[in-house]
């Protein structure tokens, strides 16, 4: 007893227009329900003949607590997206993995938000790759495209091309460089500059020919960036050329008995020739060094072009002696800042720590902060605790203020307390409305501070007779973020 096409047609256009033979409306309805019940009651499964996808095994790491996994649902919409990074890092730090059923949420989150990708990448696991490889290719934001050349030459979206290049550069630097060269002449200047930033990963002498050619690029920023990258490779011809010019210009005078001081002397030509100019030594003083004369700027650039360890070897100096010599040399500011720049280029951690510990006021933020970010979290904390120990309250002018921005680890209880104490001192000494810069910084600090201090801003304000509304608002925000983080981190132990 089935519903014939004739009956279906009759029901569609109306039995009034096309009366079926042998059935009235009631009988049609009964026939339909009988058909429906017969099908439901008699349903049996069909057979699927396609082969099954090869299964994948679990990784050995233990699962994180269910309560911690459930936070992922909240994190996707939490107003501070940075907390996602802390959550992901905590799972990795504990040597755990996310339960498998949450992996599609991780994959979706990474596909939607670029800023989470680096943090979420270690959570993808083999099973996430299996899911993407066999079924859901467009969730693949973590592996280089199968055909990066096609993406590189075929896509019109800059971010997509750069992602393809970035992934390829990490795995096959030579192929990535070949792609850059392939479209170098047709890509826009802005894009080429962004492309060059990708060369920082796995930078090697094999990149030298490309970078040397870029020294003749018509765009000044590209020339400068190429020179900057070449200076980071002491074996490069560029570095050698500059060293050959700079080293003979620098002398180091040792004290003779009780006379004289350990210091550097310079004998630069004070004239910029074409060769130096091609190697990235620029004639115009940038605005950030507006108090520097062209001669000092010239000296600054030359001194920054050579690794500081060269002076230690050449003049048999310890690091402390190197700094004493710099301290006794004129122009003092230009020398220290150039030394910091060279230290950062050489990624010289011990010297970076010494410079920041004793001479950070002599260094421009542009070099001080990247140099600070080179340090281990323990060294960063040690420096910050020293800075915050002074009698000044923490405001946007405090020497530790921007360094705190450059930390990327969860602060220890000691550092969190020191920041709060310093802030308390500032509030005591100031009745001014907090500037936007300070408010924004404190909101960022809420993401770094030990979350067990989540009520601490209240105690800071409690000592104020009548705190300004802006402070109260900021305090509420900080409390909310820290309370959320505290709950989240505690969920890992629940």
């Amino acid at each position: 007893m089935t519903l014939t096409p004739e009956l279906i047609t009759a029901v569609t256009i109306g039995t009034h227009h096309a009366p079926p033979t042998g059935f009235d409306e009631g009988q049609i309805l009964i026939k339909a329900v009988t058909e429906s019940l017969r099908r439901s009651a008699g349903w049996i499964p069909k057979q699927h003949s396609q082969a099954l996808t090869p299964p994948i095994s679990d990784q050995p790491e233990p699962l994180c607590r269910p309560a911690a996994a459930r936070y992922l649902g909240d994190l996707i919409t939490f107003p501070q997206p940075e907390v996602m990074n802390e959550w992901a890092a905590e799972i990795i730090r504990r040597g755990e993995r996310l339960p498998n059923e949450w992996l599609p949420v991780v994959l979706m989150a990474g596909a939607q938000e670029r800023q989470w990708r680096d943090a979420l990448y270690p959570l993808v696991q083999n099973r996430g790759r299996w899911l993407v490889t066999h079924f859901k290719r467009h969730w693949n934001w973590f592996d280089p495209p199968r055909n990066p050349t096609k993406t590189w030459t075929g896509s019109a979206i800059a971010d997509v091309r750069l992602d393809a290049l970035k992934n390829l550069r990490r795995m096959r630097p030579d192929k990535a460089r070949a792609l850059i060269e392939q479209t170098w002449k047709t890509d826009s200047a802005n894009f080429r500059l962004r492309v060059f930033e990708q060369l920082l990963h796995n930078l090697s002498l094999e990149d030298e020919p490309l970078l040397e050619r870029a020294l003749d690029d018509p765009v000044v920023d590209i020339r400068a960036y190429a020179a900057e990258l070449l200076k980071r490779m002491p074996e490069s011809r560029h570095y050698q050329r500059l060293s050959a010019r700079v080293i003979p210009m620098v002398k180091c005078q040792r004290p003779n008995g009780t006379w004289g001081k350990l210091k550097f002397d310079f004998d630069p030509p004070y004239s910029l020739d074409d060769a130096l100019n091609r190697d990235g030594i620029l004639p115009n003083v940038p605005s950030r060094y507006r108090n520097m004369s062209p001669e000092k700027w010239f000296l600054h650039q030359l001194f920054a072009s050579v690794s500081p360890r060269v002076w230690c070897e050449r003049f048999d100096l310890t690091l402390d002696e190197l700094l004493i010599a710099a301290e006794n040399t004129n122009p003092l500011y230009a020398i220290f800042d150039a030394l910091a720049w060279a230290t950062y280029r050489a990624q010289d951690l011990p010297l970076a720590y010494l410079l920041l510990e004793h001479h950070d006021k002599r260094i421009n933020d542009r070099h001080r902060l990247p140099m600070f970010s080179l340090l281990s979290s323990d060294h960063q904390e040690a420096l910050l605790l020293k800075r915050l120990g002074d009698s000044h309250g923490l405001d946007q002018h405090h020497p530790a203020f921007y360094m705190l921005h450059y930390t990327h680890h969860r602060w220890s209880a000691a550092l969190s307390q020191a920041v709060l104490d310093s802030l308390k001192r500032y509030l005591k000494s100031s009745t001014a409305h907090p500037v936007k810069e300070l408010i924004e910084a404190l909101q960022r600090f809420a993401l770094l501070m030990d979350p067990e201090f989540h009520q601490a801003f209240d105690t800071v304000l409690e000592e104020e007779n009548s705190p300004l509304p802006a402070w109260i608002e900021m305090s509420n925000h900080v409390n909310r973020v820290m309370a959320f983080r505290r709950g989240m981190l505690r969920a890992f132990n629940e």
Binding site: I13, H16, L29, A32, W43, P45, H48, L52, N100, A483
Partner: protein, 452 residues
């Protein structure tokens, strides 16, 4: 202090939706409140909102722990509990030291008195209900309702026949107002189940590609119900109960306490919430007894009123369950629960074919049955024909997965291509997964995971 052991997460889950939970978290800061306090059994606070008078927030912790209505706020939010109640509870769970210990203020005392009076009235009502039932009055009530439904069904029958006469291609079938008018009439006829059913049918012509036959089958089903109701008095009580269930003429719990009661260990296999219309929502909570019996705890809620979520999916409870009358009793309620729920118990399933046979047997007894619980012993989810999904067994047998199931990738990721024990709802055509057991005997509740 009373042993109130809720955590921050419990409080946020108590919120009617995530936006209230988030807003509550924002307000969970002592400084934003005019006053907050607590004693051994209650919390209170005054919050300065947009009104001239501060909102008074009151919470009875003892009642809250017993799953009874236990909160009140004077704000105008339609959501219960509102963000202020959630905020006060969050302060209590996260920073109890922020709440001043004191004797309750006047507004709190007045409210507690009112709550106590209400409890007494409830108790009296229960006592009255326990008194001998006035059979004559009950028969009169039943007969009056039956008459109203019959009158409504007479109209509905003519309407259905006329629909077939005019043809389902009639453009007015695509207008929600066409169905809504008849649904409203069914509400007047005290047949709310039919009203909800008609509102569901309104979506058929607009949301399905081949909709004529499915709609015709549903209309046929409705017609069969009308014909059956004409012979209502000739049926046995269980069959009458099944007809009443479809009509929405539900039994009250106290009316059925002398019915079938079964004590067993029940595994909570999953919950599914559905929006029946703009105001009404339902929650189906499925239990599986060690004896093999299934039970369905069905609840309805209006507006944003939260459902009872005290039973955790994946837990095993020792409980006495009372079944509502039916030719195939399935709908039930918990009379008494013994001890604490146990987590991590294993669950046993059957093949898809065996599940289908069970469904056929159930359907033979109650042809009005729609949703039924399936526990498939070894199922692998995989994409099928475009956007569809199937759950297949290693031997190749498969069943289609409901298009309303929005976490297929989570189920696929959980199994990783290996067969899993999957529990869910079967509606005669498609399967809706509710939970699954992984290889470490960890039961996963899919309703906890965001859609993917």
């Amino acid at each position: 202090m009373t042993q109130f052991n809720w955590t921050n997460i419990d409080v946020r889950q108590f919120a009617p939706d995530t936006s209230v939970a988030k807003e509550g978290q924002k307000l969970a800061v002592k400084e934003l409140w005019r006053s907050i306090g607590r004693d051994q059994y209650s919390l209170w606070g005054e919050y300065k909102g947009s009104e001239s008078a501060p909102y008074q927030v009151k919470i009875d912790l003892l009642r809250l722990m017993n799953g009874q209505p236990a909160t009140e706020c004077t704000c105008k939010s339609r959501k219960t509990p509102c963000k202020h109640v959630i905020a006060l509870l969050l302060i209590f769970t996260d920073r109890p030291e922020d709440l001043t210990i004191a004797s309750p203020p006047e507004f709190m005392k007045t409210w507690l008195d009112k709550v106590a009076q209400r409890s007494r009235r409830e108790l009296d009502r229960k006592k009255r209900a326990a008194k001998p039932i006035d059979l004559e009055r009950r028969a009169k009530t039943i007969s009056e309702r039956q008459a109203k439904i019959s009158a409504g069904f007479e109209e509905l029958e003519l309407w259905l026949l006329n629909l077939i006469r005019q043809g389902l291609a009639d453009p007015q079938l695509k207008q929600a107002s066409f169905w809504e008018a008849k649904a409203a009439r069914m509400v007047d006829a005290q047949a709310p189940g039919i009203a909800t059913w008609l509102r569901e049918l309104a979506h058929y012509p607009t949301q399905q590609a081949d909709w004529v036959q499915p709609l015709l089958e549903q209309l046929g089903r409705m017609y069969l119900l009308i014909q059956s109701f004409k012979r209502f008095d000739q049926f046995s009580e269980p069959v009458q109960a099944d007809l009443r269930s479809v009509i929405g003429w539900y039994y009250k719990k106290e009316d059925v306490l002398d019915g079938e009661i079964l004590r067993d260990q029940w595994f909570v296999i999953g919950r599914r919430e559905q929006e029946l219309d703009q105001k009404l929502r339902s929650q189906r909570l499925w239990l599986q007894g060690r004896n093999g019996r299934s039970a369905l705890i069905l609840e309805f809620a209006y507006g944003d009123v939260p459902f009872d979520t005290t039973l955790n999916v994946g837990s095993l409870i020792d409980a006495e369950i009372c079944f509502f009358p039916s030719a195939y009793p399935l709908r039930a309620f918990i009379v008494q629960q013994e001890g604490e729920p146990i987590l991590g118990q294993s669950l046993h399933g059957q093949s898809i074919l065996e599940n289908a046979h069970r469904y056929s047997a159930a359907l033979a007894k109650n042809p009005w049955l729609i949703e039924y619980s399936f526990i498939v012993e070894a199922g692998i989810i995989r994409p099928h024909k475009g956007n569809g999904w199937i759950l297949r067994e290693p031997d190749g047998h498969y069943m289609p997965v409901s298009s309303q199931f929005t976490r297929p990738w989570s189920l696929m990721s959980l199994g990783g291509g290996h067969p899993l024990r999957v529990a869910g709802e079967w509606d005669g055509r498609t399967f809706y997964p509710l939970g699954a057991l992984d290889f470490d005997d960890r039961y996963v509740d899919f309703s906890e995971i965001p859609e993917n």
